[in-house]
């Protein structure tokens, strides 16, 4: 068993689709929160397999996409400082800021390096004691423990030229914010798989309780997603909203205690600014005072100037689930993966990039 191919069986998939068709009666809009789910749904043609009364809409689950442009501008500002190496995950490099991107900063001479892991960033710091190394710390709960681990490890290894720009964000608060805003009708949520690996299923309990919205945590293989849809349909038809896990091999109700403990040790919950949504209370992660010597916000005077959103880009509305990529007049014309205008076209989890790649003629 390798935990991948078993969940891609087309025959099982077909039968599951038949079952969903038989069972689903009520019209419902299901939000797949994760960009990873959007990709898997489009790649496997799941949208077209579902009955016409079920609509799937993408959510804000793309850390690159929801990074506020003012925060990206801070990273670009830092990258231009002398004797500085800026390290980041790949997707972030090509996202346009108000004035250029990290990629264009690199062309202008900044030392910007793509890393696979926070441990790589830490190793770069150790190998370059004459430079200051900054890690652009974007990510949800999946990634936050790995950023926390790098800070704890930096402390242990006495590395004092490593700083993190803390841009971590939390998923349950943004879900609450979207449901509270009520701009888009959501009848069920396909919950994030690997965020939940860390935090478990309990932090979502308020969603069925306060908003009456069914919530099923899903894995990323096609059968995982079909199972999650089947379970959501069951809840919707029975009018019995609750939190369920369809991805039991990867998610426990209590999550990963060690990862939560590391996050708690290094970070404290703070307000955060989300692209397209605005400030959401208690939805972000700041570095605790105890580790403030690793905090890029404390170590530097960051003055990137006024930020401005790219003209005509509707990434914000797409992240809120009120518009689709094909509603954007820039889509496929002025905005392509080669020449992206907004982050939703850059990120490997961005809706625009997913529709561009797999959306077919309409996409």
């Amino acid at each position: 068993m390798q935990f991948i191919h078993e969940y891609r069986d087309p025959d099982l998939g077909r039968k599951l689709v038949q079952r969903i068709h038989r069972k689903s009666r009520k019209p419902a809009r299901l939000m797949e929160f994760c960009g990873g789910h959007t990709f898997a749904i489009l790649k496997n043609g799941i949208r077209d397999l579902l009955p016409s009364n079920l609509e799937l809409v993408s959510g804000p689950g793309c850390p690159v996409c929801v990074t506020a442009i003012s925060d990206l501008d801070k990273a670009i500002f830092l990258s231009h400082l002398p004797q500085t190496i800026t390290t980041t995950f790949g997707d972030m490099v090509r996202v346009p800021g108000s004035h250029g991107s990290l990629a264009s900063a690199r062309v202008e001479g900044a030392d910007v390096r793509i890393v696979y892991s926070t441990m790589d960033a830490l190793d770069i710091a150790q190998e370059n004691p004459q430079s200051q190394v900054i890690f652009v710390g974007i990510g949800f709960e999946t990634t936050a423990p790995t950023i926390a681990a790098s800070i704890v490890e930096a402390q242990r290894r006495e590395i004092d030229n490593y700083h993190v720009l803390p841009l971590g964000k939390l998923c349950p608060p943004v879900m609450g914010a979207l449901l509270k805003m009520g701009e888009t009708k959501i009848d069920g949520i396909i919950g994030p798989g690997h965020v939940s690996t860390i935090i478990g299923s309990r932090p979502y309990e308020f969603i069925p309780r306060e908003y009456g919205v069914p919530f099923v945590i899903s894995g990323f293989e096609p059968l995982d997603i079909l199972l999650a849809v089947e379970m959501l349909v069951e809840q919707i038809e029975e009018e019995d909203p609750k939190v369920e896990i369809a991805y039991r091999r990867g998610v426990k109700p209590e999550g990963n205690a060690r990862a939560q403990q590391l996050m708690e040790e290094v970070f404290e919950v703070s307000n955060a600014n989300w692209r397209g949504i605005g400030e959401i209370p208690r939805s972000g992660l700041s570095i605790r005072e105890k580790f403030s010597h690793f905090d890029a916000l404390k170590a530097y005077d960051i003055e990137p100037g006024l930020s401005r959103e790219p003209k005509g880009c509707i990434c914000g509305e797409i992240l809120r689930g009120i518009k689709n990529p094909q509603d954007c007049r820039l889509f496929r014309r002025a905005c392509t993966p080669e020449n992206p205008v907004g982050p939703c076209m850059v990120s490997s989890e961005g809706s625009c990039a997913a529709y561009y790649r797999y959306g077919g003629e309409d996409g």
């Binding site: 068993m1 690159v64 999946t142 690996t197």
Partner: protein, 76 residues
């Protein structure tokens, strides 16, 4: 960015070790899964094992999928 893939643990030394993904060996940190053992499958996210794949649950889910598919087929 929340991508995590199943990887088989090959060796462990302290908080680090080697895992295998699709026949390719990679370094991994086990800081978030200190209880890991050689032979376990882990979910690997940006070089960190973020959980140990629960084999019993994996099989249960497959069983459930097959049951649901059977019922789906019977009535269709």
């Amino acid at each position: 960015m929340c991508l995590a893939i199943p990887a088989k643990v090959k060796s462990i030394e302290g908080h680090e070790g080697d895992v295998e993904v699709g026949g390719i060996s990679r370094k991994a940190s086990f800081m978030l899964t200190p209880e890991v053992m050689v032979g376990d499958y882990v979910l690997l996210h940006t070089g960190y094992a973020i959980s140990i794949v629960d084999e019993t649950e994996a099989k249960e889910t497959l069983k459930l999928l097959e049951e649901l598919a059977q019922q789906g087929a019977v009535y269709s």
